[in-house]
Structure formats: structure tokens, C-alpha cells
Symmetry: D5
Subunit: 117 residues, 10 copies
């Protein structure tokens, strides 16, 4: 059984002649608070327009698993997910939404996008 | 009783003098995973602006049935539905949404559009 | 008691100096399938910007009643409702949405608009 | 194509050794107001525990169709549906719910049950 | 056109041989606060098991209209609706729910029932 | 206790250096049908960008109360609310939505806007 | 203007000959954490069957206001609200629900009832 | 990769000293209509109180897959799922709900239970 | 900062003279699959009637955290949470619900209760 | 334990090379009516695009707490929250929404934005 990994596998986009959107709903995400070491939880949503490659679903699952024992600030980890996906896929556009569970009575949602120049 | 078929029947658009939208909600779709042979399920939504022809509802049902025993990747089959509808209808515009059930804890929604040049 | 009628009564727009929207929600519509004679049902929604006249609510009710024993294809009847309202009201703009009940496992929503040249 | 009919077809209950429930959701019902002749609409829900026979789905559709041109008071037609189903099926128990659309600003829901002595 | 009236018209129960429930949803109710004279609003829900008579829908509408210019405490008016319906219908059982709009940041729902001895 | 009044009180906008939106949700509105004298009910929603003045909440309540015993067509009263607010506030922009309860099986929503020239 | 007070005003039950339920929805409650002094928030729901007296709505509002600057554990304050209402009303039965906002990623709902012996 | 199979694997109940409920939500089910050969779809829900054994989740998935190419009436297949689970698990109690998609404008929900004598 | 711990802290029930319910909603739970080592996620709900002691909220948070790196079958861990709470609190009654995320297209909800003899 | 404070702490934006949005959901807000001294409640929502700094979540909680004992008009406090956040963060853009609870039967939502010149 494959384990957690920051490596994102890809496969060739079957229809690179057109712009179309692939969206993932990822309700299972947890990492650690870098200050206290306590668990944080978030619900991620990703949507992107592929260029030459698409991300393989199983490797995406393992990618999110890889944060399980890492400390990560809300703002930083949401931006890193965007950066890692951009590096692996070089998509035409991409949006990452991290919906973080309530802390101090306040919920936080962070939305980061990318558009190929 | 007619059986599964990739043939999409059409009839003349009754009001070709105007742009208007026809939308279909198709909650009954299943195909097979091309890697494992296991069943996949999706909820398709289609909307299009007809030009000279409209798609006949019964043939649309048989068309979706025809995928039942075929292997098909999520990205590829959603794009193929778009291509087959474009080929049969030559619509002014078209959007196909494939909302695929959860695999590996992740749901996938693929949206493909077409606009007549 | 007035009976079903294709005649749409109107009254003068009380505020023709401005653009504003009137929207109707009509959950009670039925006609017959022109091929099989079986009943069809739909939920209509109308919104328009009046010009010099507004449609009278009771006559609108009788108008929709008038389809009860007529055969009508989904695409054709939705377009005809749009055409009859345009002819009676000459509105600045108009949208008719016909949300037809499931047939063959598929729901159909047809949206037709008009904008005064 | 079969037409409207008050005849309810049945087939043998495949599991008469046990009590189990069959429920139908029937959003497509219309009849006429016996006083004014105007259309009435309702959403029917039926649930029953079969004894020796089950009602055949297509005949149930034709049964509800048969009210389309008949005048019927809300209370009377809901009770009649119950009586006709009891006569055809002799079920162990049965409940009929008629959810009638708004008249005079008031919605009406009528619920009639039967239990085999 | 009939006006507001505390008189509740009835008609013979078409199926007095059985217990069944009739439920009304009445979102249009207003009266006056007996202390301040300011308008109060409520959403009433009624359900009853008829005995020999049923309440006629139009007279029920006029009945609720009759409170429009009367002062009435929440608790008292909800109980009075119950008493007037019991007097007019002598039902086998009855429940009246008055869902009163927010006052002082607090919403109030009053539920009164009756069961024939 | 203040009574119903068409007078809308205002107070100075605390932040006139910027555009911002104030929205009111008014579920308690009733007037009379000018043809039949029967009660009509609506749910009003207002949103506006203030200029030099804001409307005082209590006077807005009394303003809506003032329609209670007046006859008013749906289209006319929704436009009048817009005109009265524009006259009192001279706002930068304003939208009034009147969502009227079902009559003849049809719900009506009227939306009127204003933008300062 | 009356201020916060633990005194609950009452008035005579208008229909003490029957059991009926009065329910209050109180979304505006705040007190202080007795350990940290930080604000806590809750949404209270109360329902009771009155005996000889009903609680007056305005005094109920002032009663809940009186907790604003007091320290109170979740379990203790919910039980105290129940005890104070029982002491003031001597109701036939009573239920108090305190739905406390998320702390430490966990929401807490406390439900306390009373039934007259 | 394991294929479709009517065999239900089990494992020992970890807490056979108590009654507790296990519930499964199975939105992915399809079989064939035994009359027309056309696909049918359903959403199954199962809940049971285990005795000495629990059903293994993966074999449950393969079990539902095994109906994919079989003809099955709604009433019969829902009862058969109940019988197969009872045979494999000998549970203390069990309920199977089959929520079948709309056919002929009517949705069907079948609920079958079992209780160990 | 306190770390994960299976120790559940308690405090004296402030109102042991009565039965009342305390309910916790715990959306943040994760453990590992004992077969594959992959993460599992669940949403726990707990409700109990305290006897002499109540569970302290912060220790409950740390308790659920303690499963983060442990392998645990769905059925076993839900029963263990029940057993640990019973051992710590000796409550009058208790219910634990574990709502586990989708695996193999199937969601699982396990409900375990306890009642003091 | 830190107390209420109008001071908003910040930390460096981890990804200042891009525009991205941070959104906070703050359901716990209360202040006092400056006219009557009575409590007001609101649900705040904030979203902003950071420039060089982000607001620290705990200080944001303490900031909202600081209004607890201050008198504040709805329009003024919503604008002040916007001004204080702009002063502390100098964000690229910002929107503050204050959703105030019902007063006089009317709910009020105030939306204030900022965009860096």
C-alpha cells in the first residue's frame, strides 16, 4: 500500500485542445498547529483547467495525507498546496480553497488562485 | 424495446430564430473503471443552446446507457459526451458536467464546454 | 367563473418611467404529450420588465390552464409561452423557464428569453 | 399506449411471509374543482404493507391519470384513493397522503390510513 | 365578495367511518397587540380528525381575516382559534400551532390541542 | 407609542466618504387588495447605498405599518416604496423587492431599483 | 428603559383548563467563562406547559440579559435557567435547551427538563 | 482486484456483549429491469444490530456490484438483500431500505426489516 | 500545552438531583486503518445523562486527539469510546455515534449506547 | 489570559507575491445599543486580500470582544471594524459584513468594502 508522499503523479490530458475544469472535493485533511502541535482540520476544494497533464486521483490523496504530521499555518499551507499543484501540473488556471475548522470561535476560509501567464 | 446505443437522434429546433437553453439532469449514469473494471457512478448535467436541431430525450437516455459496460476514465468520458453531442447537434453552445461519486475520499466534478466559432 | 383562455389581459404599467422586474412562480402546469397523449407536468417561472402594460394575474392563470388538453412538445410550448407573452405585453425584456418533470430518468429545464430591440 | 383507467393491476407479493413497506411518491396529480371546474393539483404519497398482492407501478400511474377530468373535493378524492387501493390490494396496512396546492392562501394536506382488522 | 367573519362554515365529512387527518398551513395571519396597538404576525398550522363535519376552506380564510383589527395576546388568540374550531366542528381531535414572529429578539410558538372525550 | 406613518426619519450617514450597502429584511407586511378589499401579504427586502442620510429603523417599521389599511396593487405599492425611500434618503442606489404571497396558484416577486444620476 | 433583571414577570394563564405548550426561541444569549472571563455564547430554546401563570415575554428578555456579565459554567447555567423558570411559573412541565457555541472544536448542547409531580 | 460476488464476508463482532447499531449508506446500486432489460438505479440504506459477526465493508461493496447485470424487480431484490444479509450475519435485527429512482413519474421506496426471534 | 491523552477529566455534576442530557458534537476525529495504515476520519456525536460527574470539555478534546496515530477498526473504536466514557463517568445513560467517511462508495454510521443497570 | 483589546496583531504575509483571499466567519459578536443600553447581537463576516501582513486570529477574537461593553450604532460599528482592519493591515482589498439580529421585526445586514488605491 502506497504511503504519504508530496509527489503528485500526472497523466496526459485526454483533451488538451480545449479549456475544461476538473474540481476535487477533499473533506479529509489534517495537519498540526506549528505553535502548539495540536491537530488542525480543514476541508479542501480544488478546481483547475489542465494544460498538458492532469493530476492522478490516488496520488492527490497521498499528497494530502503527507501533511498529517507536519506543522503548518493556515495561510502558508493553503498557498503551498497551490504552489505544489502548479509545479506538478503547470495548469492553465487553478484555485485552491482551504476551509479550516473553528478556532477561537472563528472559522477561516483561504482561497488562492493561479493563472498561467 | 430499444437498447443502448451511441446514436443520438435529433429533431428540428422549433424556434431556430432565437437563442434559448435546454438543460438535462441525468442522475443515472454508470460505467466501468478502465484499470480495475469496477463500477463507477456519476450524475451528469447538460445544457445547450440549439441551432438547427434538438436532441431527442429517449435517444439521450439510450446514449448514456451505452456506457454501462465500457471502461472510461472520468476526464475522457466527460469530454467524449461533449464531443458526441457537438457532433450530433452542432449546437450554438454546450456545457457538460460530470459529477463523479467519491473515490479515495475525494469527489470529482468535471465541466466541459463548447461554443460554436 | 372564467374558463381557460389563450387571451392575456393587461393593465397599464403604473411606473413606465423606469425598468423594473415582475416575476411569477407557476407550479401548476400540465399539458399532454403530443406523441402518446399522456399527461406532462411542468413548473413555469416567468420574469419580465414591463414597458407600457403589465399582464393581469388572473388571465395568466387562465392562460396556463388553456394548455391542459393540448398536445405540446417541451421545447415548443416553452417557446410559445414566450411568444404569446411578448405579443400581449411587448415587454422591454422577458424570460420564461419551463422545468419539466422527470421522463426516462431525465429532467428537462428549458429557458427562453426576449429583449426588445 | 394504455390510457387512463381506474383499474389497479396487481402481482403476487414476492415475500408474503413478512411485513414490509412499499412507498410511492407521486408528484403528478391533477383533477378539477367540482364547484368551479378549475384545475386542482396535488402531490400524493402512498405507503403500504402488502399482503398477498402488490400494486403494479404502471397501472398506478394510469390510475392517478384517470382523475384528470373528474371533479373531486380534496377530502373525498383522498379517501377514494385509499378505498380503491384497499379494494384492489387488501393490504395489511396503508396510508395515503394528499398534499394539495395553495388555495385562498392556505395549503391543505389530507392523510388517510387503513389497517386490516 | 364575502368579508371577514368569525363564522366557520362546515360540510358533511365524506368518510365519517374512519379517522383521518386534515391539515391546513396558514402563513397569512395578523392581529394587533392589545397593549400597544401595533401589528402582530403569525403563521398558523392546524390539523384535525373530523367527526361528522369538515370546515370549509373559504370560511376558514375569512375566519383568520377577522382577527386583522382585533387586539389579541399570543396565548389567548391561539387558544381561541382552538375553541372556535372545536365549537364549529366537534372534531375527534385537533391541534392548533401559532408560530409568532420575533419580538424582543425572541420567537414564540404556541401549540394547543383537543381530544374528544 | 408611535403609530403608523408614511414619514421616514433619517440620521446622518456616519461614513459618507465611501459606498457601502445597508440591507433590510422585512417579513411583516400587509395591505388590502384594491379590487376586493381582501388582505394581501408580502415579504419586503430593501438594500441601498446611503449618501448623506440613513433611514432610521423604527420609522421604517412604522412606514410599512402605514399600508395596513390601504388598498394597493402589487406593482404600484412596490414602486411607491421605492419612490418614498428615494425621496427621503436621496441614496446613491436602492433596490426594493416585494415578494407577494400566492394568489390564484401563482407567486409574484417585484423588484424595483434606483441609481442616482 | 427596563434593565437586566433576574425577576421573571408572569400573567394569569388565559386557558388553565387545558394542557398546551408555549415555546420560546432565544438566539441572543451571552455570559462569561468563570475560569477565563472570556465571553461564551449560546442559543437557548424553552418550551413549557403553563399551569396558573405564563411568563411575560419582555421580562424573559431582561432575564437572559442579566447573565451578560456573570460567570457561568455551561451545565450550571442551563440548570439554573430551568430552576428559575420553575420557581417563577410552577409549570406543569418545562424543557430548557442551551446550545453552546464551539469551544476546542466541540459544540455542546445541554437539555434539562422538569415535570410537576 | 476482487470481482462481483454474492458472498458476504464477516468478522467477529468486537463487542457482542451489547446491542449496538451499524448503518451503511450505499448510493451506488444498479440492476436491470427483468421485463425490459433497461437499467434501474437505487440508493440502499442498511442498518443492523450485530450478534456474533459483522459484515466486512469491502465484501458488501462487491455484493451490491453483483446485481449489476441481473434482472430484478424492486420488491424482490430489496427482500433478497435482506435475506442474504440475514443468512450471512444472523443479526439481532436488520432493516434494508431501497430508494428506487423515478419511473413513470413515480418514485418507490421499499423498507424490509428482520428481528431475530 | 497539554498533549493527547486517554485520561478523561471530570468535575462534580452541579445538579445530580435530576436527569438531564449533555450532548457533544465532535467533527474533528481521525485515526488509522489497522490493515493499511491509511488515515480514517469520522464525525463523533456523544450524549449522556450524568450521574455524579460530568466530563471536562478540554480533556474530551485531548481524548479524541489520542486516537490520531492509533490503528482502529470502525466498530471497535466506537465501542471503545463508549467504554472509556462509561468507565470515567459512570453515567446514568450514554450514546456514542461515529459517522465514518465514505470508503468503497459506502458510508458507515455506528451507534452504541449504555444504560446504568 | 489575554483580555479584550482594540489592538490587532499581525504577522508577515507568507505569499505576498500573489493576490489571495482570507475569510473569517465570526458568529460571536455583541455590543450595546447606544440609545437604550440594551444588548445588540450580530454575526460578522470578513474577507480580505492581504498585502504585506495578515491579521493574527487570536487578536481578532480579542478585538471583537472589545465591543462587548461599548455602545455602537449598527452602521457606525460596521464601518469602524472596516477602518480598524484597514489601518492595521493596509490590505489590497477588504469586505466587512455585519448581519444584525432582528429589531422591530426587521433584520439588518451592512456591507462595507475597501480597495487599496
Amino acid at each position: 500500500m502506497a504511503g504519504p508522499s508530496k509527489t503528485l503523479e500526472t497523466f496526459p490530458n485526454p483533451s488538451p485542445d480545449r479549456d475544461y475544469e476538473i474540481a476535487f472535493d477533499v473533506p479529509e485533511f489534517t495537519c498540526l498547529c506549528p505553535l502548539t502541535g495540536q491537530p488542525d482540520f480543514a476541508h479542501f476544494k480544488i478546481r483547475y483547467v489542465p494544460d498538458q497533464t492532469c493530476v492522478e486521483l490516488k496520488s492527490l490523496k497521498l499528497y494530502f495525507w503527507s501533511y498529517r504530521n507536519e506543522g503548518a499555518f493556515h495561510e502558508a499551507v493553503t498557498n503551498r498546496v497551490r504552489d505544489d499543484l502548479v509545479a506538478a501540473l503547470s495548469p492553465r488556471s487553478l484555485t485552491v480553497v482551504g476551509d479550516w475548522f473553528v478556532r477561537g470561535g472563528i472559522g477561516t476560509v483561504i482561497t488562492v488562485s493561479y493563472r498561467k501567464p
